[in-house]
Amino acid sequence: MQDALETRYAQAAAELDAIGDGDGLRAWEAATLGKKGWLTEALRAIGSIAPEGRAAYGKRVNEMKQALTAAYEARETLVREQALAHDLETNQIDVTLPGRPRPTGGIHPSTQTLRDFYDIWADMGFQVYRSRDVEDDDTNFTLLNIPPHHPARDMQDTFYTTDPNIILRTHTSPGQIRSMRDLGENGTQAIRVILPGMCYRYEQITTRSEIQFHQVEGIAVGRNIRMTDLKGTIAAFAQRMFGEGAQVRFRASYFPFTEPSMEVDVECFLCGGDGCRVCKYSGWLEIAGSGMIHPTVLRNGGYDPSVWSGFAFGMGPERITMLKHGIEDIRYFWGNDLRFLEQF
């Protein structure tokens, strides 16, 4: 019996050394150390051993149990480590496969640029003031120093409605009159607003021109608003919008509602001013029209132009978006092609 036990013990130890997986280990454990395992049964059999050999038998079986239990645990650890090493080594995935798509939305590129404008101008104290798309001729033109039949009306081709003197605004400038009258408290309060909105012009739709487009106009009216402030404010905007160090230059121009009037160019941010196709090799990009608010417009807004002064500027978010992202066709904006929108 003792011999048989020893043989069994040696066999079990050898078997254990050959086991390489969890299932094998569990089967071995059940057959050896489990409730019905031979070793457990051998322990239980102590009572049936003749008393003179019982102590030695018991000692020996307990030795076996300890040895096999220790060996089992060692083997289990080894097998687990091997399995882990095997898993780390073999269960690799192709990390270049695309990820699971998540549904993503996005705002329109024009909205993105408008928000950039809102943020930058808000930091300088310019709040958003929105006014209507359908305007009367007076507010869109006459009150802005563009009387009927004035040559400046040729500069903007207008969409008229079938209602007399009602038009689609050709620029956001009527917002100058509306904001001055609304917020200026009869020409007694300084104001600083930007006027974003959709404008409409009767033009052929081409890669470069559209019948509707956003403008963001801004005005500052106060008792001490000067051309130097206009230059400084626009320069500050350019630094924020186009990067620190962005240079601006001012050229004389003409807008009926400002005097003096200036066109604003920013150093081409694509070529750093060295000249490229986008800036037509001039090193400059036109980004805004601006000027000191015309005395007539101040008057029409309720202010006394001999005491109050102000500056105004206007920019096109679509144009700036086009420049920033290399968009060569303005028709992309209202085409709503998802393949375009998804790039923002």
């Binding site: 496969l97 695309p98 798509p101 549904p103 939305g105 996005g106 705002i107 329109h108 909205t111 809102y118 104290g125 709040q127 958003v128 929105r130 798309d133 305007e135 009367d136 039949h149 004035h150 040559p151 400046a152 040729d154 969409f159 008229y160 409605t161 079938t162 209602d163 309060q189 300084a190 104001i191 600083r192 009767y202 052929q204 019948i211 500052a220 106060g222 008792r223 000067r226 051309m227 130097t228 402030d229 230059k231 400084g232 230059r249 001012f250 050229r251 004389a252 121009s253 005097e259 003096p260 037509k280 001039s282 090193g283 000191m292 005395p295 132009p305 001999s306 209202w334 998802l338 929108l341």
Partner: protein, 861 residues
């Protein structure tokens, strides 16, 4: 407008490169859109940057630069026949060499001289010698070529007499360039030095009417470069019988015709104008016609005053042989005038005309002369008109008659009346010089409405108030004087008189001051104005919830996976009518009078302003559906509703949503690509409203003509309808090319949503006791809505019921027909104490009972 550099130099010294001049003009508001080089090289920008310390850049020009050794001024002395070819001749050209060069040419304009022997006076042209680079005159595409020695029909030939096209001056290749005069240069002079030039293409804003001429631009250059201005010679050699008695003028409406001047030239000969004049006109883009007409154009281009030449004898004939009396007046309705272009034009009452003694219109004032009194081949006596017209009426006429001329362009922007007298003098004497004859002494000058002399007082304080920088009175005066203003400085005040060339300085003292300050800024240069930050008080800052909440709504929709559209706001009523299935009553405003209608639509697809965003979203989706499996978009924007009795329409903001296609994108890992349904859309709306913290939201069945009646809902906030969401009516989907496809759409009143947003929403504290969860499945009849079941559960559950979550809707065996099972997970709990199982069981049973009693529900086993 094309302005040649050579002509500018007659009036002002220009000692900077043309490219730098163009930059200075552009910076001063005269935008040089392009520069055309004729034969001369472009200046290297790097050289200008270095020599003038300016930051200037421009594209490289690819024009032909005339080789100074091989393209020379030549004199053709004889044109010999080609011994072997009828269609070729041999031009014998002196180009400064010892012997005449024999050029074989087919130029048709030399044939009249063929075989007549040595010419009495040589003809001048440009000769290209072997090795010279020219444009290929025979190529349709621009193509350069190097001239090589090549015998033509047996005659050696190593040079060429050149056409305009070969030199890159114009596309003219009918014959070679031929001048009758040497233009002041000896044969052999490099052609560059004779004909080389630079032409500026200048775009003028409406305030720069004074610059519509070479002199006008020269005046600006003189101011910018601080150089003296030379003016044309306005003197007249008049030796003929006086004009008095030969013609008279009657101005009936001085407002429309402030000034009208006439001079008379007798015995002139109509012939081509001289080479120098033709050349300058061509450089300005004007085709030469004859000496008389050319002078009218020449003076207009030179100093900006349009002129009109009448055949005096035709006027005399119309006056029955007596002295013509020219009447200027407004046209009569129904009056017809045949203009120079041969068109019979019905006139309107705003047109201004010149009429003859019988009061018959003979000329359309300012825009175009009449056919019956124009200069003809037999004209000898020329009556020259230089008038001044109200620019507004000229603009009206140009638009009414759709007639745009160089004269009209200038008059419609404004010409100072002082220029009329100068123009007529300059014109009549030039006509005498190029056409012969004798100028009648004197001028008819009717000037009933003299231009006011405008004088302003400008203080250095006012300059500083607007510009933010200080000029001394002397500095400011010097700048204005450069601009041609007369200035008298007294202390800090300048007394400024506006020159009689410009109309852009307003009479109003405040506006006039602003105009003068602009001149100071422009002439001193904008780059010299410093930059400051606004020192003025910060205005009152106001809340702007309307914008802030709109942007928050955009962000929420984006986080819900939707992409923003921005669409055309113009559409047609017909396109919007497609939202209403045939035979149904529209649920939104479709009446013709409710539309803002465009009077001048750009296309038949854009005739009115929209009433709805749905058409935009559907049309966008139809475009996207060609390539996209999945479309989830929104648009926020105005719609436009005409209001009875109000001039301006209502412009409410709307939110439109559209979902169609797969729920999520197809992918190699699978993903739910089954089609979206009502509940996807509702999830978006719920997410938006929850994000805005809108309370009191309810959904009820909708009855909207554009939506599926069984699968659409009206969204309500506190019982007020704010829009419809749901599956588009199948007939509507079909109308937008989505036959048989489920399209989910919504249009909501954005103003109402945003007004209901609650930025001060209170939070719930985190629970401090655990919840006890109990599920319940209730079988109810189909007509009992989920909202109704939830209402009863919540009503009974009261404060102890923390949440109600529907987790299953089941129909089919064993649920009876026309019934469904709704399964809810209920969480009970209160922070006041821990609920006992018994309490929860009792409340749960009470809820079930109430549902049984009030909704006829049965507990599902």
């Amino acid at each position: 407008m094309q302005i040649p550099l050579s002509w500018l130099k007659e009036f002002v010294e220009i000692d900077i490169p043309p490219e730098l001049l163009a930059e200075k003009l552009t910076t001063a508001g005269l935008e040089v859109g392009a520069i055309t080089y004729i034969g001369v090289p472009q200046t290297d920008a790097e050289v200008i940057r270095r020599q003038h310390s300016v930051n200037i850049r421009y594209p490289k020009s690819d024009h032909l630069v005339w080789d100074k050794q091989r393209l020379l001024w030549g004199a053709v002395h004889e044109v010999k026949p080609h011994p072997g070819a009828d269609r070729l001749v041999l031009a014998m050209v002196d180009y400064g060499a010892a012997e005449l060069e024999q050029c074989v040419t087919g130029a048709p304009n030399l044939f009249e001289y063929k075989g007549v022997g040595p010419l009495p006076a040589p003809l001048y042209t440009v000769i290209a010698l072997e090795g010279a680079e020219v444009w290929d005159g025979h190529s349709d595409e621009p193509k350069r070529m190097i001239l090589k020695e090549k015998p033509l029909r047996g005659i050696p030939n190593r040079s060429m007499v050149c056409s305009d096209k070969e030199l890159g001056i114009s596309d003219e290749h009918e014959g070679i360039m031929l001048f009758r005069s040497d233009l002041g240069h000896k044969p052999g002079t490099p052609a560059q030095d004779v004909l080389g030039d630079v032409v500026f293409h200048i775009e003028l804003t409406p305030n720069l009417a004074r610059c519509y001429s070479v002199l006008g631009v020269a005046r600006e250059i003189a101011a910018l470069l601080d150089k003296p201005l030379r003016t044309p010679d306005y003197s007249v050699i008049a030796e003929g019988a006086p004009i008095d008695g030969a013609v008279s003028v009657e101005i009936r409406s001085p407002k429309h015709n402030p000034r009208f001047t006439l001079m008379l030239l007798r015995g002139a000969t109509l012939q081509p104008s001289p080479d120098w004049m033709q050349r300058k006109l061509k450089l300005c883009g004007q085709r030469p016609i004859n000496n008389i007409v050319d002078v009218t154009n020449y003076v207009m281009f030179e100093m900006g005053q349009p002129l009109h030449a009448f055949d005096y004898d035709k006027l005399v004939a119309r006056a029955g042989g007596g002295a013509p009396n020219l009447i200027t007046r407004l046209a009569n309705a129904g009056e017809i005038l045949k203009t120079l272009d041969g068109k019979e034009r019905p006139l309107v009452e705003t047109d201004v005309v010149i009429a003859d003694n019988r009061d018959q219109a003979i000329s359309l004032a300012a825009v175009m002369g009449g056919f019956d009194t124009e200069i003809g081949d037999d004209t000898t006596n020329v009556l020259l008109e230089a008038a001044n017209w109200d620019f507004i009426s000229v603009r009206r006429t140009m638009h009414a008659q759709k007639l745009f001329s160089e004269a009209g362009t200038r008059f419609s922007r404004g010409v100072h009346p002082s220029q009329a007298a100068l123009g007529v003098q300059r014109g009549i004497d030039l006509m005498r010089q190029v056409g012969g004859g004798t100028v009648a002494k004197g001028m008819v000058d009717a000037y009933p409405l003299p231009a006011p002399i405008i004088t302003h007082t400008l203080t250095t304080d006012e300059i500083e108030r607007i510009m933010g920088m200080r000029f001394t009175a002397d500095e400011a005066a010097a700048l204005l004087q450069r601009g041609g203003f007369t200035v008298d400085a007294q202390g800090d005040a300048l007394r400024v008189t506006v020159p009689d060339t410009r109309l852009d300085i307003d009479r109003d003292p405040v506006i006039g001051a602003a105009d003068l300050i602009e001149e100071i800024a422009r002439i001193s240069g904008y780059e010299g104005i410093p930059t400051t930050i606004i020192a003025d008080e910060m205005p009152k800052q106001r809340p702007n919830p309307s914008l802030e909440r709109e942007e928050a709504a955009r962000d929420l929709l984006v986080s819900l996976g939707l992409r923003e559209n921005i669409s055309y706001r113009m559409t047609t009523p017909e396109r919007e009518a497609q939202l209403v299935p045939a035979g149904m009553t529209p649920s939104f405003e479709t009446s013709a009078e409710s539309y803002v209608r465009i009077a001048n639509p750009i296309s038949a697809e854009k005739t009115v302003l929209r009433h709805t965003l749905l058409v935009n979203l559907l049309e966008n989706a139809a475009g996207s559906a060609r390539y996209a499996e999945r479309i989830q978009v929104f648009e926020i924007g105005n719609v436009y509703l005409r209001r009875p009795g109000q001039p301006l329409p209502d412009e409410p903001r709307k939110l439109g949503l559209l979902l169609m296609g797969g729920r999520s994108a197809a992918s190699w890992v699978g993903g739910d690509t089954s089609a979206v349904d009502f509940y996807d859309l509702k999830g978006v709306v719920e997410g938006l409203l929850a994000g805005l913290h809108v309370r009191g939201v309810g959904y009820g069945r909708a009855a909207h003509s554009s939506f599926h009646p069984g699968r659409s809902a009206e969204v309500k906030i506190d019982g007020q309808a704010v829009g419809v969401i749901g599956e588009l009516h199948p007939a509507v989907a079909a109308a937008f090319d989505f036959e048989g496809i489920t399209v989910l759409a919504a249009e909501l009143d954005l103003e109402a949503l945003l007004n209901a947003a609650n930025p001060l929403h209170r939070i719930r504290p985190l629970p401090v006791t655990p919840s006890v969860y109990q599920d319940v499945a209730l079988v109810v009849r189909d007509e009992v809505s989920a909202a109704e079941v939830e209402r009863v559960i919540r009503m009974i559950g009261g404060k102890l019921l923390r949440s109600v979550a529907l987790f299953d809707v089941y129909t089919g065996d064993p649920v009876p027909a026309a019934h469904r099972s709704l399964a809810y997970a209920l969480a009970y709990g209160t922070d006041e104490r821990t609920l006992t199982d018994k309490e929860v069981a009792a409340l749960h049973a009470k809820i079930v009972k109430a549902c049984e009693r009030e909704l006829g529900a049965t507990l599902r086993a």
